[in-house]
Amino acid sequence: MAEAFVEGRPARIDAAVAAAAMLLARARQPVVAGLGADIAGIRAGLRLAERLGGAIDHMAADSVLRNLSVMRDTGLMVVSPGEVRRHADLICFVGDGTLTAWPGMLQHIAPAAQRATLVALGAPDVARACAGEGRAVVQADADDMPGMLAGLRARLAGRKVAGPPEQTAALDQLSVRLRNARYGVMVWSAESLPELAIEMLVGLIRDLNVATRFTGLPLSGPDNSVGAAQACGWLTGYPMCTGFGTGAPVHDPWAYDAVRMVDSGEADAALWISAFRPVAPPWNTEVPLVAVAAPGTMFRRAPQVLIEVAIPGRDHDAVIYSNETGALASVSASAPSAAGLPTVEAVVSAILNRIEAAA
């Protein structure tokens, strides 16, 4: 049975859709936020944001945009995860958090049978996981990650670095190891590395390719954030944090950051989408809110309209970015539910249709 609420009271779903349409259509600067949805839901969210002349953001935009920002500044060298497993002879995990971004990562790209040398560079989570499985891992601390990576680049280029001799010796040891790899891969999560460190890291990968082969496996935040960046990319030319107020898409990660828009009072209505997990909006200010959310989401204050939706890939078939393939994948429902909460696409499209019918 579909669950929908208007002003905290149970409502029929079409009544909730009508209330959502009215709330959003009335707004002068609405924002579509959260965007935790499958590709179909993201497409619908984009169409609605465009129709409203609003903005679109994703709850994990920070990490995706950190990798994309480096790509826009310098470009990136990357590899498909399956190819890491098949071909890499050295895998270097850079910074903490790669296992948070992709819990199944080690089994996937570096199963025990895979003979690659594993290096945990400022990556205690990977070091612990390897120790737990009794696997050898080369550990290197990196309190100052950009400095560490800059030191490696400097030593690889045969330049001097400041610091005690034992530190230089450690840098040299690691840089020789990297240089001697036939096919090395740097793995990082943008959730835990600052942008400067990522830029230095991709520069290090480029430098290593002068003599050998090296590449990168960047990871980003959850909730299909990479899928959202891709779909926004092909539909608008830009990733998330894009506004449609001028009639053409304008991308500005500061101006169209949903939290900033709400907390500054710029946004006067929000559509919050979180279908994978019950996540509440992260802003601190009250704003007229339509929530299209997984069951069990705890809101600080009841949204004006709440419509509960099915979980993509669990309750229904969905297209979602897959860490395993490094691409968008068609995922069959793992526990298809006959009860049938609606999908994000169905709800958001219904809101859009309602707005267009009223126009």
């Binding site: 590709i39 179909a40 497409r43 994309l68 790509m71 826009r72 500044d73 310098t74 470009g75 990136l76 060298m77 990357v78 590899v79 498909s80 399956g82 190819e83 497993r85 098949r86 071909h87 089994q107 996937h108 790209i109 199963p111 036939r182 096919y183 390719n209 050998t212 082969r213 590449t215 960046a229 891709q230 779909a231 990319g233 092909w234 539909l235 608008t236 030319g237 830009y238 990733p239 053409a248 898409p249 991308h251 078939d317 297209v319 897959s322 395993e324 393939t325 490094g326 691409a327 968008l328 994948a329 068609s330």
Partner: protein, 544 residues
Amino acid sequence: MIRLKGGRIIDPANGRDEIGDLWIDDDRIIAPPPDARATETVDLDGCIVMAGAIDIHTHVAGGNVNTARLMLPQQHKAHARRPAKTALGQAGWSTVETGCRYAEMGFTTVIEPAIVPSHALHAHLEFADIPIVDKAGLAVLGNDAYLLQLLRDGQGPNAVADYVAYMLQATKALGVKCINAGGAAAFKNNVRAFSLDDEVPGYGLTSREIVLALQQAVSALGVPHPLHVHCNNLGLPGAVDTAIATMDAAGDVPMHFAHIQFYSYGAEGKRRFTSAAAKIAEAVNVRKNVTVDVGQVMFGQTVTVSCDTILQFGSRNSARPRKWSLWDGIGDGGGVVPYTYKATNAVNALQWAIGLELFLLIDDPWRVFFTTDHPNGAPFTAYPEIFALLMDRTLREEWMARLPKAALASTTLPSITREYSLNEIAVMTRAAPAKLLGLPDRGHLGPGALADIAVYRPQSDRAAMFRAAELVFKSGALVVRRGDVISQIAGRALTVEPPVSRQTAARVERFYDDTFGLSARLFAVPEHAVGTPEPFESVPCLST
């Protein structure tokens, strides 16, 4: 029933160039009904009527194209069509703009020639979001571990053909392309140059063997479109020899050579970079099994997008702006390197001239195809200027007068007087592509054809004429009026579906699981995942 009345109908497939009427019923062209009663009559007095144009090689969708979009936000500030006086428009970067800009020029079918199988679903999702025009993809094979292993182990042509059939089905593609076959696999082993007779490390297989095995498989399966080949050594001085050696290897079996301009380079002269267009044109003229598309270069900012990772890595220092991306995929991958073609640069000026030489020196408009290898030579929005250059010798002279004289010294372009007729343009962009791709109901205006129709209003500025069609019908629906899109209907993706044995499917799936830790099914493109109703249209294979 719609009657298009009194236009000049240019329909070379049916030998027609005359003033006449065209009748549309639903989505088809029909013979004039005896008791002619149209629900709508459109007076096309003075207009030119052609079938909708077909672009056989344009990078409009997929992971690599999207990387280019995301890496180069500065490239798509202006989605809008440029004013007529601006020589080059920017590529329409979003999927929506891509469909609209193509339709406005009278194109109704476009082929994305580089569907990387691991990203096939991504490409089809983008296809679904490109409105109006129909799309099709060519699956890129030739660097994939499964194929290389089959060949290394001498599994024979039937096993290769079965595998190719599996990949065509899985990726919902219309044909097969190979891109510097073996090169991307070699690059993963730190090989930096890879030619036709070089071996892929670990496989003891040459590029030549891979190309020929794929050619044989495509032909054996009866896939209408011949193997689409991106040769080794693209862009290098002396690449002419590689291209001609590959043509020789093809024997008498059909083979399509993509963006041949980028190979029509000799290594003579002071700059060690000369035009070999005449040599290539001669080679094409005498080999009736060979077709080529040009990959014309036009001046301005663009971005090169290619699965040829060796090439793209080698081009990294020429990136303008100075940034580039490179992806090692499962099998093929890709590289994105922005580039600016400058009229003041002798090499670029020569590339521009070489493309035009090829168009004008290859005799048979049925075997030379119109492309810029969008966006590699220029964005597709530059097509109208190129049509004008092909049709107008004086215009070419005006352009050449602005280019460095030394650059043109090794070309024959200044001496070429040929001007394309409208009929030849219609062959090259309509009739011939439909034949090459095996689409019998497209590219012509005979009864039974799909009602994909472009109407142009003649004017002295031919580029202006082709930039903004007077009317465009897609599958019988009016979608463009006076150069503006009025209706964004959904197009479909064209596929071929050669039968696949269950055994092959099981073998491929086991291989993916063992080697990559992945289910091959993750690469599949199920109809329900695409997100539009009836996203595919199947094209029959030839009986073999």
